[in-house]
Symmetry: C2
Subunit: 437 residues, 2 copies
């Protein structure tokens, strides 16, 4: 084997991803050295409890509880603890000691990204985070490097595997949300407390990271509009199927032209996606990121969104990049946030909508509904009315499914309130955005 310069690699955390990273670093050491141009010596693994059971067997002597000592002597620090602290302090300590950092910590980057990237800039180090956005799917480098000469217009991502698994099964089997969620929990696709996934928090963190990169703008997490999938029921699924759509939880990052110049919108919500759209064919727990760029046109990146060994692949790719930079010398590629576009609230976004209403089946109701929509600057594209006959044979309620042209979210939302209060609408069954048509 070539006599390579040796780099000291410190690993923080040995959970599902961390233990796989350690195992692969040891198993493929020679191969990785050839690719990195440096031998990658795993010098230690900082954990809270060195004696806890691990997914893979690792030598006991690698474990330490003293993260700080480990960090200070390292060339590359891999942070796989997750959460804000001590991950944040550990990363800042690593950068301060001249190490490059590899992390999969989306929560930290979405909330403290600018602080971390600034700290890296000051010492000319780099922070690599391919595993933070969509698991094993290479999306960070394409956005940061491959598309650096282009202008991204829009990203639509299925970036949370748990919710895609749930929605896909609801769509394919006609099962209801609670039933599939329970099953997903039993199979390990969803956590005991599924809030972070099903309420869209995880997707919102990834959306903030993707939008920051794509638009060269620091997007704070609280600027991301977020809705989860808990209100999606079998009736909405059936109606979507009937109309040629499938419901997906999407992270949408969009460049918008305003009177004051370009701005962006970043939002996470369940949306109707046309069946023929490539994102509609992303099944199970897979992720996919669909990118529309001015010159490149439509691109899609598809793969496993989570999983210990899959995510470990993305982490190790970053470790090799960090090692190459160490060997090549020079400063790292800093984050580009010079565009700093304003992030608009969701009210300023325009999309198409599908509104489902229960109305009384009386003459003039459709005219009243149409009038309220028109007053609210919401233009109707399609209407489908189904009469639901009451048990006694008398006409009962009717169901009205209205597809709109593109409308401003704020107009739409005020209009829906007026419809609900109009007296002719018994119930607003659902309001869903249409994306990707």
């Amino acid at each position: 084997m070539t006599d390579y310069r040796r780099l000291r690699v410190a690993l923080l955390g040995a959970g599902a991803v961390g233990s796989q990273v350690a195992a692969l670093l040891r198993k493929h050491g020679d191969e990785l050295a050839d690719r990195a141009g440096a031998a990658l010596d795993l010098v230690g693994i900082a954990v809270r409890n060195p004696d806890a059971p691990r997914d893979v067997e690792l030598p006991r002597e690698l474990f330490t509880t003293d993260a700080e000592e480990l960090i200070v002597g390292a060339d590359i620090v891999i942070e796989l603890i997750g959460g804000i602290e001590p991950a944040r302090s550990n990363i800042l300590l690593a950068l301060g000691s001249g190490a490059d950092v590899v992390t999969a910590n989306k929560a930290l980057l979405a909330t403290h990204g600018p602080e971390i990237f600034d700290a890296a800039d000051q010492v000319g180090a780099s922070v690599y985070y391919e595993a933070a956005a969509a698991g094993a799917i290479p999306i960070i480098r394409p956005l940061r490097d491959s598309l650096a000469g282009d202008r991204v217009q829009r990203i639509m991502g299925i970036v949370n595997g748990t919710t895609n698994y749930i929605l896909d099964r609801m769509d394919r089997e006609g099962s209801d949300f609670a039933e599939v969620l329970a099953d997903a929990q039993a199979l390990g696709y969803a956590e005991a407390d599924p809030t972070a996934d099903v309420e869209g928090y995880d997707a919102a963190q990834k959306a903030a990271i993707l939008a920051s990169l794509a638009f060269h703008t620091a997007v704070p997490l609280d600027a991301v509009h977020r809705e989860g999938i808990t209100r999606i029921d079998t009736q909405m699924m059936d109606a979507a199927r009937h109309a040629g759509y499938v419901i997906k939880l999407l992270a949408v990052c969009e460049r918008l032209a305003t009177d004051d110049g370009d701005a962006i919108s970043v939002r996470v919500y369940p949306a109707l996606v046309p069946r023929e759209h490539p994102l509609a064919n992303v099944h199970g727990a897979n992720n996919a990121v669909f990118v529309q760029a001015e010159a490149a046109g439509n691109l899609m990146f598809y793969g496993a969104g989570a999983g210990g060994v899959q995510t470990a692949s993305a982490v190790l790719g970053d470790v090799v990049s960090a090692a190459r930079r160490h060997i090549a010398g020079g400063v790292g590629v800093g984050e580009s946030t010079r565009a700093n576009l304003p992030v608009l609230p969701v009210g300023r976004v325009t999309t198409r909508y599908q509104i489902t209403l229960e109305v009384s089946d009386e003459p003039g109701v459709l005219a009243t509904v149409a009038g309220i929509l028109s007053e609210g600057r919401v233009s109707i594209a399609t209407v489908e009315q189904t009469v639901v006959t009451a048990a006694n044979g008398e006409p009962g309620t009717a169901r009205l499914v209205i597809g709109t042209h593109r409308a401003l979210e704020q107009d739409l939302s005020e209009t829906v309130d007026r419809l609900a209060a109009s007296g002719v609408v018994g119930r607003v069954v659902s309001v869903l955005r249409v994306e990707g048509d």
Copy 2:
């Protein structure tokens, strides 16, 4: 605007891609400077005829016929001439003068890659070629960087837009090859001389580039097995559809375990792909690269495979990368060819096959055919026999569609020869590999 260091960018060639690169460099100059951390000054465009008509309007004073003078003064040289010479000499001159090189020249890289990468290594410069493999789709960086910590097992790529356009229309419309080709030529999807596309030469060059990167091995173009799509007819398309497949021209790059250690196979041919495989849903002139890696699992990269402005996006991404490297200092990432795995001939590959035979409809024929297959170590998975009644009402020929288990290509090919010579087989209608099942 920030006072950036200025880098001198020289462009060689102003065809469909080159003129778009020049236009975008000028249009988005400020934005690109922010991303690159350097102002990118387009100092000249070397062409044979400065007065030739261009796709976009560019200042006459940028044009020169003296490529060498232009190259010698440049920090970054973009080679978009295509072909071997003078592209090769120009690139070597650029590297020798300390410039980084961006090229979309697949023919050159597939034939003279090692010479060019060696020249870059010697001076610590870099050669960027994202646009050489699958147009606008970011596939080079994912393979070189994102998957550098993983082990690629297999790549299946639809890497030629023209042939995918033709096969997709044949599949969807039932039209025949000649008809769709003529239409594709009229629409500009195929060239007047379509040989490079329809005979698989273009795909073979891209396969060599992808395999070299994925397996860290210099794969010479003549080690790539190549078959085109001209023999694909409507009958084969119908039969494929009937059996749940679609025919796609695939570039397959595969790692194989042999008794002497790992080896690779690189091949381009039309193959049967199951309808539910993500590659089956790649329509029109789009490209997609499906990657199977040991840890990352299945990934797919999808987008426009060609087109001037789409390819220009990939070129400009490379220009920004080259500029960042110039600013950051240090040496570039060299090609990693240390694995240097042997490339096996196609005879050593195993795949599943679908063999369609015309046989006489007599007792004992199936037994004879099955016997020949068995002797040839080709195991039958499925058989479907259809009797084709002759015009006079007498039994005539039968059509036999045989799906095999995985068999060695050399065994299969010898067996097919024996079938053809057996006396019971009237005609070998088609032999197609099955990939992606």
